[in-house]
Amino acid sequence: MIAMRFLRQTHDMEKKHKPFHRFGLTALLCLLLAGCGDNFDRFLTQKELAEPGNPIFQKRYSTESLSRSELNLLLDMALYKGPPEQYGDIVLRDRSEKHRMDPVVFSHRIHRSRYTCRVCHVELEFTMKKGGTGITREEYLEGLYCGACHNGDIAFSVKYSCNLCHVKVDKQGHYQAKKDAMLGGQNVPTQEYGDGINWVEAIKSGAISPRNSLNAENPPESMPLPQHLKMPLRWTTRSPRTLVVFSHESHILWLDCSNCHPDLFSIAQMGTVEFDKEKNLYGMYCGTCHMTVAFPMNGCNRCHPDQKNRL
């Protein structure tokens, strides 16, 4: 069935792009069809042994996905290729430049070795969309947003050290990357894409222990995961070759349930139906974090265990 659809798709593509090398495409098609079934089955049996009793959810989709060639084009353009020390940096210029200040460069990398995502994105009400919070000087001097920590007590004060945040950024967007003030030192596990640090492993191995709340005396209690979410979830994808593995456990190390549910992902089982790779690459669903701050989708292997990373 899926093979039929794929055939039809490639046929349409050939019609659209006449000078396309017909031979190359047919050869590619043969290779794909020959290889995919075996790999997938082999992978399934391996995984089945490793995680007995964890079912695979057959995902139903409501949208059509991109053809492979277009997806490849998109991946080439969208995946992160910049320097690791600048991955996750946010340059906030709109409001600052209106008030004749240099833009603010916020480095996620420095902050996340000390605090989990939850602290800022739930407790301090930073939105996950750049520029969406609408921070004003009046507010951070009052102790809201950045001012909650940058008060001279927990971190340097917003009153004095202006140029630690407001830095020169030229028209091409170049700036001097922030000095690495990360905790953990040599012990932090590394990876070859994004900001170069495997943050989930870093917490699990104890190399860093970021705080999960600013309220030290009365930290919030989080709800235990229901039984069937304690093991990684596994979904089928539209392409027959790959499988998605999603672990709630490694996400709640950093996040609160409410960072994702129910706004980004429906809480109904298999409720998010219009989910596909393209929308993710445009920054929806997983792409909300996994293209900008959390590891970028260059790390294919982290979610699709039978795929190689695209470095």
Partner: protein, 262 residues
């Protein structure tokens, strides 16, 4: 071929951006504490000259119970379901019941609610944000929603919401008040049990806000799923919009499960 591919890619980007803009508009609309519980009151089918009023629940709920407006004053619980007209307000219905110059500022102060123009709308919003931060400092904190624990504020006597308005409210019958606790077991194994407290709800809502329209009178006879709640049904009629947010899982799922394995 390259050009054609680039073109399809371009349209893809535009479409994608469009989708993501729509998506984020909905997804992140409700996270800010000073905007939690805000209702934009507009009647798009009528050609209005006035800009829509933003009603802020947080500025009212410390002073009055939910019941007073939603039962006695007949405000619908659905945004724009009431159909408030200027004439009604002048006749002392809806907003006009309190905004008469005695209980609260009079209707003549139009621009305290109706923005003059787009810029004034922003100024009003900024002003409200400031007032909210001032109010928040005086009340017990919470993690989600308004980040104010309204229930605790009422229990501790920091706020004393009025439940009776002379000339509008009738006397509440004390005999009918039910303060039973209702334990519920969630369908998913491993989730903490729910304890529903009538006592905590009655303070704000009396009986008529929930029964018999939203919940059947007979205990445990209304089948509820969490998905329906997130869609604004059952508990979600208030929790998730105005009353404490749905993110605050442990406030309902509060009783620990003793044997998670069984």
């Amino acid at each position: 071929m390259k050009r054609a591919a680039a073109k399809t890619f371009q349209t893809g980007v535009v479409f994608g951006l469009f989708i993501s803009l729509c998506g984020t508009g909905i997804a992140f609309a409700a996270v800010k504490s000073f905007e939690y519980g805000n209702v934009l009151m507009s009647q798009p089918e009528k050609d209005n000259t006035a800009l829509p009023v933003t009603f802020r629940h947080w500025s009212h709920r410390g002073k009055y119970t939910c019941r007073l407006c939603h039962v006695d004053l007949e405000f619908s619980q659905l945004a724009n379901g009431t159909g408030v007209m200027e004439e009604d307000n002048r006749n002392g219905m809806y907003c006009g019941a309190c905004h008469n110059g005695k209980e609260a500022f009079a209707l003549e102060a139009c621009t305290r609610c109706h923005p003059k123009d787009k810029q004034h709308e922003q100024e009003l919003a900024q002003q409200a944000k400031r007032e909210f931060q001032e109010l928040k400092k005086t009340l017990p904190p919470a993690t989600y929603g308004n980040k104010i624990d309204w229930m605790k504020a009422e229990e501790d006597g920091i706020i004393k919401p009025k439940d009776f308005l002379q000339g509008v409210s009738l006397r509440k019958s004390e005999k009918m008040v039910n303060s039973r606790e209702e334990p519920r077991t969630p369908a998913l194994p491993g989730l903490p049990n729910i304890i529903f407290s009538h006592a905590k709800h009655v303070v704000w809502n009396g009986c008529g806000m929930c029964h018999p329209d939203t919940f059947a009178l007979e205990s445990g006879k209304t089948p509820i799923t969490m998905k329906e709640i997130t869609e604004g049904k059952f508990c979600g009629r208030c929790h998730g919009n105005i009353a404490f947010a749905l993110n605050d899982c442990t406030r309902c799922h509060s009783k620990p499960v003793l044997n998670p394995g069984s």
